[in-house]
């Protein structure tokens, strides 16, 4: 039994916007795997809900005219993992969302919900950060698109104004073409767990596979919201593929990240793991990109 004041079912994106304008206190519900848990805990108890779950127009993976990959916000984790476009161009995102919860959650949970939640531990978020994702938001004023870094304002708060909902996540062509990446979720067990730290790395190698033309790295649970480690990226961008440079990369991480102590893990432990993950994820990304790390 859930303490729901009222449930309004949207029939289109426009209708969803209208419902949200009409019921400014209402909360959006998609798969419900977060909101219903909060409701049970009493945090959102007694709220009105606007359900967008029936909006198939917000579901699925496709290409935009400019080659960007468009992931509808209602696309479930298991759909993303199995989608051929994802598998071919940004396989790591499919792998990352395959680490969320268990099979049932991955069937009901959506990538839009995962990001709109605003939590730092979301398994999709660090990979989306690391691939320069763009968030599409639809509201009473129309559609706007913002970089995912700007979408996250602070822990639990994202840039959704009254009447707005997230309708898609886009990966621009220049952000994925030629890149290979790897996501590592560090958790205390192998399923049904929240990331202690998550690290997503990707790399674009030169044609001869000797130089890291671009390296991107993002973390979950290294700060209040998911984050890019820009200093770390700068430390090795344009450098040769080598064991030493991989070490330099991993060592630079501690300057960028800001993990904290919690009952889930100590700051010191998270820092240690962040370094190990950075090194291993970069090595794997280089391997996937066809490079070889000389020791």
């Amino acid at each position: 039994m859930y303490d729901i004041k009222a449930l309004y079912e949207a029939e289109s994106v426009e209708h969803a916007v209208a419902l949200l304008v009409e019921h400014p206190e209402a909360q959006i519900i998609a798969g419900g795997s977060d909101i219903l848990v909060k409701m049970r805990e009493g945090k959102c108890a007694g709220k009105e809900l606007v359900s967008i779950y029936g909006l198939d127009e917000m579901r699925g993976v496709s290409f935009e005219a400019d080659g960007a990959i468009r992931i509808g916000s209602l696309t479930s984790f298991s759909h993303i993992t199995g989608d051929p476009i994802i598998q071919e161009h940004i396989r790591v995102l499919g792998e990352a969302v395959d680490m969320v919860g268990g099979p049932q959650i991955r069937n009901i949970g959506t990538i839009g919900g995962n990001t709109c939640n605003g939590v730092t531990s979301a398994d999709s978020a660090s990979t989306l950060f690391a691939w320069d994702a763009v968030v599409e938001i639809t509201g009473p004023e129309g559609v706007r698109r913002i970089p995912i870094q700007d979408f996250y304002i602070r822990a639990g708060v994202v840039d959704l104004k009254p009447g707005e909902l997230q309708t898609a996540i886009l990966i621009p062509k220049k952000a994925y073409e030629g890149y290979q990446g790897h996501y590592m979720k560090y958790a205390m067990r192998n399923a049904m767990d929240i990331a202690t730290t998550g690290c997503s790395v990707n790399v674009k190698l030169s044609e001869d596979k000797k130089v890291m033309e671009d390296v991107r790295i993002a973390y979950g649970v290294a700060g209040p919201v998911p984050m890019r480690a820009s200093g770390t990226e700068a430390a090795v961008k344009g450098r040769t593929v080598s064991g030493e440079n991989v070490k330099t990369f991993a060592g630079a991480v501690l300057e960028d990240i800001r993990p904290r102590d919690s009952f889930r893990a100590s700051k010191e432990f998270r820092q240690h793991i962040a370094v190990v993950l950075a090194e291993r994820a970069l090595r794997e990304s280089i391997r996937l990109a066809g490079g070889e790390v000389d020791e």
Binding site: M1, Y2, D3, G42, A45, G46, G102, Y186, M188, R189, N190, A191, M192, D193, I194, T196, F263, R264, A265, S266, E268, F269, H272, I273, V276
Partner: protein
Amino acid sequence: MYVGKNVPRVDARDKVLGRTKYTDDLCDKSAYIARVLHSTIAHGRVVSVDTSEAEKIPGVVKIFTCFDVKEKHYFPTAGHPWSTDPDHQDVADRLVLTEEVRFYGDDIGAVVAEDEIAAAKALRAIRVEYEEYPFVLDVQEAMRDGAPRIHKNYPHNILKHTGTRRGNYEEAIKEPGLTKVEGWYDTPTVQHCHIENFICYAEMEGGRITVTASTQIPHIIRRIVGQALGIEWGRVRVVKPYIGGGFGNKQDALYEPLCAWLCMQLGGHLVKLDVPREDTFVSNRVRHAIRSHIISWVRPDGTYAARKLEAFSDQGAYASHGHSIAAKGAGAFSQLYPCDNIEVDAYTVFTNKPVAGAMRGYGIPQAMWAVEAHTEDVAARMGMDPVEFRRRNLMPVGYVDAFSRNELYDDTFNQCLDKAMEAIDYKRKYKEYQNQTGDIRRGIGVAVFWYNTAVWPISLETSSCRMVLNQDGSLQVQLGETEIGQGADTAYTQMTADVLGVPLENVHVVSCQDTDVTPFGTGAYASRQTYTAGFSIRQTALLLKERILKYAGGLTRMPVYNLDIVEGVIVRTTDGRRLMTLGELSTEALYSLKDSRHLTAESTSQIKSNAYSFGCTIAEVEVDIPMCKVKLLDIVNAHDAGTLINPALAEAQVHGGMSMGIGYGMSERLIFDEKTGRPLNNNLLDYKLSTFMDHPRLKAVFVENAEPTSAFGTKALGEPPACSVAPAIRNAVYQATGVAVNEAPVNPHNLFRRFQEEGLL
């Protein structure tokens, strides 16, 4: 013969089809919903409770606070058989609701509403004012002078201390050439995490109260509800339907007394109390965290000259099962590796934490963590092979315990070790994994365990059974021993069919216990259901058989000694002729105009024996040192549980216990905020119960030495599988890395700390 065969579980089909009815399925929808108001301080006194806002919420029926409990009937909660000797009775320290708060989550009030939502809203709207006292969370801190006193009659918060002395420790350690090995070993507070949370409902009819509960111990609950309400025990009826696991948590009176009390306050209206998972972690029972200090004095030949154990058992806020747990562990220490000179001191100590009660293994998983970690340390220090060192010191064949009269009849330990070693290719792996370097290393570790079946001679052992023959020759069997998911009903069916001589499908074990009609029995605990029920099943079946054959003799004009029942047919043994079916006989008996009989039998067995049940675990791990992670590669348990009634169910039971042991060894622990005493991870996300993905394929192997004291050659297998898993994993990590982790679980947090201390990181 059905005993020893893998017959399908009698309840499998209904459970798989979702037809099986559990407590919540049976409760009428007219029930009021009760929720418990828990304290949000760890120690203090409730000064006032403001329910005014909560009472305004639509759907709220009534709110009760601790101040509404006018008649203070203190009651004990432990699911032990009652003792008529006041000195052996459990400590009666609970009230249905308490003004004195002794842990964060204590029961200080209750909301009764028409539905769950109103109840939840009302709980959030209640304001409580407390007078706060200092609190203590650590077991040894609690024993110090000046520590906060949790119960006024227990100085230094010591619920009980027992000391055992054998030989002369102080003299023995003077022997020249001894090596001293000393260690401290800690086990965490963990919770049972059975699938079905505790739930019960109560209603009154004709001045009597019926409580239907998800419990392991219906007859004990009847007594405790009577004590808690201050009414005659015969006015209480307890019904136990199928339950979704208990693991010892439900071997305790949980909220049956409170639910019954609320029902009485409301004029007997049906009240349901369904505990949320979060509360289950805090306000039901947990496993005692035990800190052990062991000193061993070892001769150069690898034998023990003298040994000492101090164990500090964290009882939490109320007595529940109390010192029984630490005492059982202390007994295991003295017996597993017998030594002429022993000093054992076990303390059970109150702290301001959730109440510890029974949990699968009852002190033995804690004791084996300490003892088997220590054994590994001693073998390493002495430069001896860990298996050979154990073989040299383990309880020898023919050992008899002076108190219980338990005897080790067979070479169980060596047989189990041999079988487990073979199953996992131990010798090759052990050799291969010596002296590794690098970030990723493998190891293999052994741990044995001591366990004994049932509770005699500490407590009463009794079992009663009733068999009722139907017209068609089938029969109902009723027992006080409960099915709690372990497969007891199937074992009883097999046993009955064999002794009586009827086809398996003609035996209908009545699964549900109803204290109004079920013969008396104390329920599921101490891995005793199959052992204990076996006695009364054999005795009752023989009694019924005698009556049937006597009646058959009359009908067939044959002497009874020439008759037998074979697969449901009355057979003349002299020539094997089939005289009539049991159905024909039974129909005639019921409807006979000459000699009508209802053929039934009922009898009680008091059991004055008890049996050892031993075995071991071998675990193989891969340790990723920079990641501070252990991957369990392979694991095997070997058990001598005597004759297996149903090998497939026995294997399943071992798998379940191993899974519990894996969580205990690698990931589970309940943690508390040092500043407030608040539990921090009382949910299934943050409490790291292990998942399928954390398990390798679980292997179970058996040695079947028939137990001579047993009615069917069988003995304990419910709890033993959980007893040696955690230390085997710890010892495997030790072989892999050379790092001894003495604080369970061997999780990344503890490994990070230990690897730093040992210079691996």
